[in-house]
């Protein structure tokens, strides 16, 4: 109850941002919505099904290019975004069937290669994508204040859509089945769960909103190039956000994304030279100290064992 009240309150604050704050804050709020939507998406495959996917940037970039190219054809604005969503969803459904046969580290490496392959494709197919020169996207007319509002509310809409989808999945057969798959895939198969279809559904759900977000991002920044659209940093950041907040929970990804973006913003502003190193150290500390994410934090546990003990060992102790 408290988390849903907090969620609604924070949505109202985000929605009010353009009326009470300057464009820097609006831009930051847009990023908060964008990363929360990406982290929620990752939660379907990484949090529920337990498959460590690093394909986020692949879907994001594919969506960005699909959206930008159709928008430059002159399509009315939400249409390129919808088109990108469909393209990415179909792409993931077809790909998932093949790649989800791999497990654990193999799956992680396989999924990260999707990002690389798509990036190479985007930079080589210069006729279509502009190659390394990048692609200019038509700028939304109406001035920066108007555009800021449009993109904030669009990102927010996708975040809310992803959140509602997550709530539905969490309570459905699909969510229950995915949780079974995460804990013991062979046993899940044995009790009648069609694991291939379930995993493909989770992979597709994890991809489609990334496609929408990518397309909105392309319209927002009005210029994309292969290394920005298919950024390895993005593909690593998003899983970390979900793990930070609490994988397999409905509020965890949002909380994790917000804490991460705000931390990044503060550290980026204060320590220009060491920002990445400090951020890295903070991430390592958080992951080790909070193996279940912020939402599963156990206040009663003594600090020394959780900070200095290996999370794997803690888990062993619990299972005994």
């Amino acid at each position: 109850m408290r988390s849903s009240a907090f969620f609604i309150l924070s949505m109202l604050v985000l929605a009010a941002a353009p009326f009470i704050a300057d464009n820097y804050v609006v831009r930051l709020c847009t990023f908060l919505c964008m990363y929360a939507a990406l982290a929620l998406s990752w939660n379907f495959i990484g949090g529920y099904a337990g498959y460590p996917s690093f394909a986020t940037a692949g879907f994001f970039g594919l969506g960005a290019y699909a959206g930008a190219l159709t928008q430059n054809l002159g399509l009315w604005l939400p249409l390129p975004w919808l088109f990108a969503t469909v393209v990415v969803a179909l792409f993931a459904a077809g790909l998932g069937f093949a790649i989800l046969r791999m497990k654990g580290h193999y799956f992680a490496i396989g999924s990260i290669s999707i990002v690389e392959i798509l990036r190479l494709l985007a930079s080589s197919w210069a006729q279509l994508t502009g190659g390394g020169d990048g692609l200019n996207v038509r700028i939304l007319p109406g001035g920066p204040d108007y555009a800021g509002r449009v993109f904030l509310y669009s990102m927010m809409a996708v975040m809310i859509a992803a959140f509602i989808t997550m709530l539905c999945v969490d309570r459905s057969r699909l969510g229950f089945g995915l949780r079974c798959i995460k804990q013991n895939e062979d046993a899940a198969d044995m009790i009648g769960i069609d694991v291939t279809s379930y995993k493909t559904a989770a992979f597709t759900l994890s991809a489609m909103y990334c496609g929408t977000i990518g397309a909105i991002y392309a319209s927002w920044v009005a210029y994309i190039d292969p290394s920005d659209a298919f950024s390895i940093l993005l593909t690593l950041k998003v899983p970390v956000m979900t793990l930070l907040g609490g994988p397999g929970t409905v509020y965890g990804p949002i909380l994790g994304a917000w804490v991460f973006v705000l931390l990044e913003e503060m550290i980026w502003a204060k320590f220009l030279e060491y920002n990445r190193a400090i951020l890295g150290a903070v991430i390592v500390l958080l992951i080790f100290a909070l193996p279940g994410g912020l939402l599963r934090m156990q206040w009663r546990r003594k600090w020394p064992s959780s900070v200095f003990g290996l999370p794997g060992l803690n888990r062993l102790k619990e299972s005994r």
């Binding site: 309570r171 057969r173 089945g177 804990q183 046993a187 198969d189 044995m190 009790i191 009648g192």
Partner: protein
């Protein structure tokens, strides 16, 4: 009794490299029967169960379930058809509660309409195996006998027509085995066809109407329990040829 067997295995073989783990095995289970499958370690018992439930595909041969060819089914299809199994090494969903574990079986393979229905059914099955008081504990917190019972409850929640019990009694003490025996009798009384894969002769001999003996992948003997244990081939497989010879002489001399 319906004349058509509920489960029929015809010439089933599976080779792993040069090893024929299961070699040309044929048998049939009739509705409501309790059949024991015995054999020394490495005889191919678990591989046979894996072939029947689709975990590994056979090299040759076929499996018929209720008259339908199901040779190349996937395990989840087997489960939905009514072919449930337990694992020799128990396979719970460790972070879920005992109740959720059983509810999963009811929801995905059984006849539960939704989560609430599945949990209601799960409670009945837990009461049946005597785990009702542990319903809300995490599955990982159960001791071994409890986990074996959980495995049984999960299989029962799938509403199986045929239940393959792969060493449900391994690792239990004799008191716990007696309880398990009682449980298996009550399951059979529900009309579920049971194939018991077991090391413990006591379990097989008291429960089974018929016993199949597997040795080095081949079915070497079958029949009622009393005659199977007298079969020289079976004695040889378990105790070696010297002992079998001595026993033959002893029976000949009266």
């Amino acid at each position: 009794m319906n004349a058509q067997p509920i489960l029929e295995v015809k010439g089933l073989s599976r080779a792993f490299g040069g090893v024929k783990a299961v070699n040309d095995v044929s048998f049939a289970l009739h509705r409501g029967e309790i059949v024991g499958l015995i054999g020394p370690n490495g005889a191919g018992k678990t591989t046979l169960v894996n072939l029947i439930t689709g975990v590994v595909p056979p090299s040759s041969g076929s499996v018929l379930f209720d008259g339908q060819d199901v040779t190349y089914q996937r395990p989840w299809q087997a489960a939905r058809r009514g072919l449930a199994r337990t694992f020799q090494i128990v396979q719970p969903f460790p972070e879920m509660t005992v109740l959720e574990n059983v509810a999963a079986g009811a929801l995905f393979a059984g006849r539960a309409a939704n989560r609430a229905d599945a949990e209601a059914q799960a409670l009945e099955h837990l009461a049946f195996v005597g785990l009702a008081q542990d319903a809300h504990r995490p599955a990982a917190a159960l001791p071994l006998p409890g986990r074996k019972r959980l495995e049984l409850a999960k299989s029962l929640a799938m509403r199986p027509k045929v239940l393959l019990l792969d060493e449900v009694n391994a690792g239990l003490n004799s008191g716990e085995v007696d309880q398990a025996l009682d449980l298996m009798r009550r399951i059979a009384a529900q009309g579920i066809t049971i194939l018991i894969i077991e090391h413990l002769m006591k379990v097989v001999l008291t429960l089974s109407q018929r016993v199949l003996v597997l040795h080095q992948g081949r079915l070497i003997s079958s029949g009622d329990p009393a005659s199977v244990v007298q079969d020289p081939q079976v004695v040889e497989a378990y105790l070696g040829s010297k002992f079998a010879e001595r026993q033959r002489r002893m029976t000949a001399n009266g």
